[in-house]
């Protein structure tokens, strides 16, 4: 497995005047409802354990109020936890002094915000240079260095505009350039594309994927949109009411939803465009016939197999070696929208 870049252990966050006084009760399983009614505290996060692999996009998904924005802010300690441990690059974030924390925020972790968080009194160039300027770099030099990131996100020529003169999508490109300019290898993205129009959002997802192919940052990406999670995520963690209910790769989550809640999430997505051949194939020796790549999505596998005029194909890995076989029936079964009480779901209940 890939090396672990960020690990969060037994993280609890309780909002209220005296969170420590109710921590023990929560750790023993007091419910969110009970906590609110009897102790007037709000449960933010409950027993979160996550490992984020280096150089991957880890998506944390949940609806509003699930605690996902709270969770991501613990990684750079914009929010103090009630209890737990947060390790970044092997160092305990909670044990850091103010100065050490500032160093980490300046050099190792950068962040992109849902509502952009740009400084409206600064130009685009000054905003992009902000992280470098905070590190102490003279503003002229900082602007010069961050310029290539503005170019990279497609904002050349807008350097002297103010954020209010740009559209939402362009403002978020500034936010992205600002985050990339510091060369931090961890990028926290808090619903960065949620405030954008659907078309612009898809656009920005492509921008991000393109950048990631080159930069291999460790990205923690928050979203409430499953399609976005599936498109971007190397792994997905699903959060509900402050608790993690499933973690895994996208294929896993679609094929084996952990409970009704996740099942409801995944039942309406276009399975043919997400599920890959390797996830439904029969592993083993290949058979004669057409071959499909292991990471081909079912839509395309279906086309390939049916175009070849057969009903079975062999699945090959990246080097062209056969790793299994797949039949038309397998493909079609997997693409069909699961029934409310499917066998699969019942099995994972």
């Amino acid at each position: 497995m890939a090396e672990t870049k960020i690990s969060i252990e037994k993280l609890y966050k309780i909002f209220g005047p005296r969170p420590q006084s109710v921590l023990a009760a929560v750790q023993q399983g007091m419910s969110k409802q009970e906590l609110l009614e009897e102790h007037d505290h709000v449960l933010g996060l409950k027993d979160i354990n996550i490992e984020v692999s280096a150089r991957e996009i880890s998506v944390i998904m949940g609806l509003s109020g699930s605690g996902k924005s709270t969770l991501i802010r613990h990684i750079n300690r914009l929010i103090e936890p009630t209890s737990g441990r947060i390790m970044v690059n092997g160092r305990d974030v909670l044990a850091m002094t103010r100065e050490e924390l500032i160093e980490v925020r300046r050099h190792s972790i950068s962040m992109v915000f849902q509502r952009f968080g740009l400084h409206v009194h600064k130009t685009v160039a000054e905003n992009a240079a902000y992280g470098l300027a905070i590190q102490g770099m003279p503003i002229g030099e900082a602007k010069q260095q961050s310029r290539k990131w503005l170019d990279r996100v497609g904002l050349s020529g807008f350097e002297n505009h103010y954020p209010s003169q740009l559209s939402g999508g362009m403002q978020q490109r500034v936010g992205l350039a600002r985050a990339l300019a510091t060369d931090a290898d961890i990028l926290l993205m808090d619903e960065p594309f949620s405030a954008l129009d659907p078309l612009i959002r898809t656009d920005m997802q492509q921008v991000l994927l393109g950048l990631q192919e080159e930069l291999h940052k460790t990205i923690v990406f928050i979203t409430h949109d499953l399609d976005e999670a599936l498109r971007l995520g190397d792994s997905i963690a699903i959060l509900r009411d402050g608790a993690l209910i499933q973690q895994g790769n996208p294929q896993d989550i679609i094929l084996h939803p952990a409970d009704d809640y996740i099942f409801d999430f995944v039942k309406d997505i276009n399975r043919g465009r997400v599920i890959e051949a390797r996830s439904v194939m029969t592993p083993g020796e290949g058979i004669d016939g057409p071959s499909v790549a292991h990471n081909l999505v079912l839509d395309e596998a279906l086309q390939a197999v049916s175009a070849a005029g057969t009903d079975r194909a062999k699945v090959v890995d990246g080097e062209g070696k056969a790793i299994g076989s797949i039949s038309l029936k397998q493909i079609i079964d997997a693409m069909a929208r699961p029934a409310e009480e499917s066998e699969q779901e019942a099995r994972y209940r």
């Binding site: 500032i102 050099h107 950068s110 740009l118 409206v120 510091t182 926290l188």
Partner: protein, 296 residues
């Protein structure tokens, strides 16, 4: 029944003793420290006197040119510049030039002093809720207590003259700039600050790079209010020996000179309008970045 109609007040003798004790205590205090305070304010007095002399001694066309230049720098508006020049020409023509220069001197110095003290105080207030709770009632007192009441201790301490006048003006005029600096900083968007935090900005970087620049429109509204309130204190300040437009106004009150009072009063109004328009336009120009075209 008697005791319910008559409020059970402190008996007269004790009350008199209490007042005497307070008066005596303050008199002793002013004897002890009056001179020290006077020495402390000496540089301020010298600066004020020098500035006033400079304004009065300078040839009037130069002053008008400087006024026009400052108005242009602040407002970039021809109307405001023309209005300022015309007002000053009229003031000079009706024989109020020297008094106006004196008033201009004390208002400028008072405003600078209020800015120098008020903005840091506002910043301090924005830093913690406790500080805000502590300072707010003091500001309330400064704004509402009748000016004559705090003139008494100020005169007892420093006598009659420019410095006590200046202090009286500042006591009355400083609250708006403190309040609006505090408000402006507190109104800065949380997102902008969170971004600064996330990129590792320390307190100074947040204050000077984000909070103050974003609070500037409010801070400028505070400066504007401070100038207006300082001008409205001109007459009261003249009661304790501050030269300027307030002196003839005071004279016209006691002698019922309608024309004299009206002219000098209108001169104060003219100064107020000029200061107001110039500083407001300047404040608006600081917000240029907010006027962007919204592409939706």
């Amino acid at each position: 029944m008697e005791s319910l109609i008559e409020f059970p007040s402190m008996d007269r003798q004790n009350l008199r003793d209490l007042k005497k004790a307070i008066d005596g205590g303050f008199r002793d205090f002013s004897r002890e420290f009056g001179e020290m305070l006077e020495n402390f304010f000496e540089p301020l007095l010298r600066f004020l006197v020098l500035f006033e002399k400079l304004l009065i001694a300078a040839p009037w066309p130069v002053i008008i040119l400087v006024i026009a230049g400052l108005a242009w720098l602040g407002s970039r508006s021809r109307t405001v510049v023309a209005g300022s020049v015309l007002s000053f020409l009229a003031i000079g023509y009706f024989g109020m030039w020297q008094d106006t220069m004196s008033t201009l001197a004390i208002i400028s110095v008072a405003t600078l002093l209020c800015i120098a003290v008020g903005i840091p105080l506002g910043i301090l207030m924005a830093r913690s809720d406790r500080m805000q709770t502590a300072i707010t009632p003091v500001l309330d007192i400064m704004q509402t207590i009748p000016a004559f009441v705090y003139l008494i201790p100020v005169v007892m301490l420093l006598g009659i003259g420019k410095v006590p006048g200046l202090i009286a003006v500042c006591i009355y005029a400083i609250p708006p700039i403190v309040r609006l600096t505090n408000l402006g900083i507190r109104l800065v968007e949380k997102e902008a600050l969170e971004a600064a935090d996330a990129f590792g900005a320390d307190y100074r970087q947040k204050l000077f790079g984000v909070q103050i620049p974003l609070a500037l429109p409010n801070i400028f509204a505070g400066v504007n209010q401070t100038i207006m309130m300082a001008l409205s204190m001109v007459v009261i300040a003249s009661m304790i020996g501050v030269a300027g437009l307030g002196v003839p106004v005071l004279r016209s009150i006691s002698n019922q000179y309608l024309a004299l009072g009206l002219m000098n009063g209108l001169a104060i109004v003219a100064l107020a309008i000029i200061f107001d328009r110039v500083s407001q336009r300047f404040g608006q120009r600081l917000q240029r970045h907010r006027e962007g075209v919204d592409h939706g």
